[in-house]
């Protein structure tokens, strides 16, 4: 694409997009600027003293190990489930699709807490890996399911006609078609694992993020916490480089013309029983354990949650700050997503990768950096919802960019070219053709950011306006003093509200369509 000079001029107002994208990336880089300033203040001696220890090496290995284990498990589980619900004659497919995606609505700290309540001695690396896998595999499932449904069956048919077996075709053609979706989902999982604090702190798996949280919780060890964070940034760069390497330049997976046709579904035969058992088991572990545990805590405890108005206020605050965060994130992500889809090139790739950099930083670091930013740069915003929305934008920009870019990449450029040839200006084309085509992606991205914002705790605690409680912060407040029964309604409401955008995401990936109609 980039080899066709002048072509971009027909497609989108690129200079404007570029400027807007640069602004979005600048926002995402605020925490990194803060890290740089604070780490530089610490001086080399301190940095070397903090970092040049066996402990740091161990933590790095353990964080990477956890990310590798969880990502591998999520890819297997996510791709397997996606294949079962999109390409086979599995009974009750739609039900399983929804069940498989619902763990997205369960925050890791609720899941981990549920597991610990059920099995008190559970702690360490493998339990954390289990909980993180159960909470994160939908990040792979959803994009892969959408890719499997949207893939062009012609390639597979050609492969079969050339004498390859079903399995050979799957490995040679199908897996290659869904590779970008798998890699993008895997990257999100890996970065999430690096930044997760909920599961690792409750299950006491010593990762980098837990060490950062502890250093920060110990109070006055901010420098230590921030110097450690710089290592996380380095690990993120590694992961981004790895994911970029899996992308083949110029590879396009969108259908090129032609009507959409359903793919012939694979008949499972007797193999459907182990498939059903596996899916039910995963849903039971990911959804059943938290549900039962919350129910038990609710029945056993006598602490009562705040009066209904208090619960509703917290829910309202959760909704408004998450919606604000989703709105701001989408505004920032839109130019970047369009640019990634319509004008690929080294510059676009660099901007896109930069947007990911802050994504693996723990929420507490984002929170601290925006406190610093608020006090020293934007004091009128300090302790307002705006700053919290900005934190969400910084944290979740990649989720939104990915959704927009994915939708734009799947919509044919031909329509835009026709509109341009009919004499419409670039902005008109953007408004009347490109945006309507990418709206589903924008909706999905907004739903995902909203959902993640609802669950976010550390940055919310630091940045919320004084006196503003959200469902997540109320939950934290109650569990900190062991008032589990009081916490349960907040947890239940949080999961219930989060289930709605999750359902939207499932619907968006086309898993709920009645039959495979074009």
């Amino acid at each position: 694409m980039s080899g066709v000079p002048g072509r971009w001029r027909r497609l989108a107002p690129r200079p404007a997009l570029l400027a807007a994208s640069t602004a979005a990336v600048a926002v995402a880089l605020i925490p990194l600027a803060y890290l740089a300033v604070r780490t530089a203040e610490a001086g080399w001696d301190r940095i070397i003293a903090e970092l040049w220890t066996d402990r740091v090496g161990l933590l790095a290995l353990r964080s990477l190990g956890l990310a590798a284990v969880v990502t591998t498990a999520c890819v297997l589980l996510g791709v397997g489930t996606a294949f079962l619900v999109t390409r086979t004659d599995l009974p009750a497919r739609r039900l399983f699709a929804v069940l498989a995606a619902l763990p997205l609505a369960v925050p890791t700290y609720i899941a981990a807490f549920a597991w610990v309540s059920t099995m008190p001695r559970l702690e360490g690396f493998w339990p954390a890996a289990l909980v993180l896998t159960l909470c994160s595999y939908p990040y792979v499932l959803l994009p892969v399911a959408a890719a499997l449904r949207g893939a062009d069956p012609a390639q597979e048919e050609v492969s079969r006609s050339l004498g390859r077996s079903g399995w050979q075709t799957f490995t040679a053609v199908t897996l290659r078609q869904i590779r970008p979706a798998t890699a993008a989902g895997a990257l999100l999982v890996a970065l999430y694992v690096l930044s997760d604090f909920g599961a690792v702190s409750i299950l006491r798996a010593d990762t980098f993020t837990r060490a950062i949280f502890v250093a920060f919780d110990l109070g006055f060890d901010r420098t230590g916490a921030l110097v450690l964070s710089s290592v996380l940034v380095a690990l993120t760069v590694l992961l981004l480089a790895g994911e970029t390497a899996t992308r083949r330049r110029g590879a396009r997976y969108a259908r090129l013309g032609g009507a959409r046709r359903p793919v012939a579904r694979l008949s499972l035969g007797p193999a459907r029983w182990p498939a059903i058992v596996t899916l039910v088991a995963v849903a039971g572990l990911a959804l059943g354990v938290p549900a039962v545990s919350l129910g038990r805590r609710l029945a056993a405890g006598v602490s009562r949650p705040g009066a209904l108005p208090e619960v509703l206020t917290a829910a309202g605050n959760s909704l408004t700050v998450s919606l604000a965060g989703a709105a701001l994130t989408m505004l920032l992500a839109l130019p970047l997503g369009l640019l990634a889809a319509r004008a690929p090139g080294p510059l676009t790739t660099a901007l896109d990768r930069l947007a990911y950099l802050a994504h693996a930083l723990p929420g507490v670091v984002i929170g601290l950096s925006l406190i610093f930013f608020g006090i020293n740069v934007a004091y009128p915003l300090y302790q307002t919802r705006w700053l919290l929305a900005l934190a969400y934008a910084t944290l979740f920009l990649p989720l939104a960019v990915g959704a927009v870019a994915g939708a734009a990449a799947q919509s044919p450029t031909g329509l835009e070219e026709v509109a341009r040839s009919l004499g419409r200006g670039p902005w008109t084309v953007l408004r009347t053709v490109t945006l309507p085509l990418t709206l589903p992606g924008i909706g999905a991205g907004a739903a995902l950011v909203f959902l993640t914002g609802m669950k976010e705790l550390p940055a919310t605690l630091l940045l919320r306006p004084t006196g503003t409680d959200t469902l997540a912060t109320e939950l934290w407040t109650s569990t900190a003093v062991g008032a589990y029964a009081a916490a349960a309604p907040y947890a239940a409401l949080l999961v219930a509200i989060s289930a709605l955008p999750t359902w939207l995401l499932v619907a968006r990936s086309g898993l709920l369509d009645k039959e495979d109609r074009p």
Binding site: A211, T384, L462, G482
Partner: protein, 351 residues
Amino acid sequence: MSLNRRSTAALLAVGVLTLGLAACGSGGEDATDPGKPDDKQITVYSGRNEQLVKPLLDKFTEQTGITVQARYASTAQLAAQLVEEGDKSPADVFFAQDAGALGTVAKRGMFSTLPEATTGKVPPTYRAGSGHWVGVSARARVLAYNPDLVPADQLPASVFDLTTPAWKGKVALAPTNASFQAFVTAIRVQHGDAKAEEFLAGLKANDPQIRDGNVKIVEDVNSGTVPVGLVNHYYLGEVAKEQGTTPDGLKVKLHFFPGGDTGALVNVAGVGVLNRSAADPDVQKFVDFLLDTEAQTYFAEQTFEYPVVGGVQGPAYVPPLAELAVPEIDLNDLDTLDATVTLIKNSGLVP
């Protein structure tokens, strides 16, 4: 993609954007307006848990008509945030659950001197000599034990005994907890850094059961998962409350280290008033309210802490504060938290 779903998505996207921006637009009330003295509104940074103090703050508002904007987080985090905010802080009062954190903020010169009439109500042990902060309730460090697993006659005479082989694998700790850190600071103050370092290394070598917080420790000792744990005395009350019983009704019992052992440290929760609010009568009313009989009774009955003002009965399930053999430590000396944190970090008790 059916047209129907596309228009739904479009509507949704537009709706989210509108709602989100409207939500932010209505956020004017959260602006960091420091407020004026006597405007019937104060901002409190509370390192104490909302569940524990909110009813009390509501009572204050009810009685005085002064609205309390409370910001809740951990004591250490808020102390760090105050230091970060410096003179731009919107806070009027810092309500902390550890003398060390109050001392740290006081050391930065951020607290005003409280009037004698206020601080005089509290024994000198439980306030800053400089008058920069005053304790409002006291908490004792204790060893929670399960009598089924540890007979009362085998309880250790000193907290330092917990590093002996007899206690291997039997002791639960919460090294990230502020109260544990204050206790380690107390060891440093009383016995020096070397002794504190040796003690932490001994704990670490003894295969301790690390927990995230005191509630979990008390629950685990109560259920017999772990024989003993180092906690504050009032966590028994919290766990009992949740289980719908009284502290006496729980299996877990408390051991107060005798003879002025560092393990029997009594720390305070207290308040300091930020410089810019020194002359605000609303803030002064709040500090006085916390030292009033009603609030002191609330601490004794609802949060199971020791009142620090004379004439109020302490919680029923623990010996009176006056009878405890507390170590001879000036709480003002607990403000060297950073050195303690370094020790705890190097001990390997935390990741």
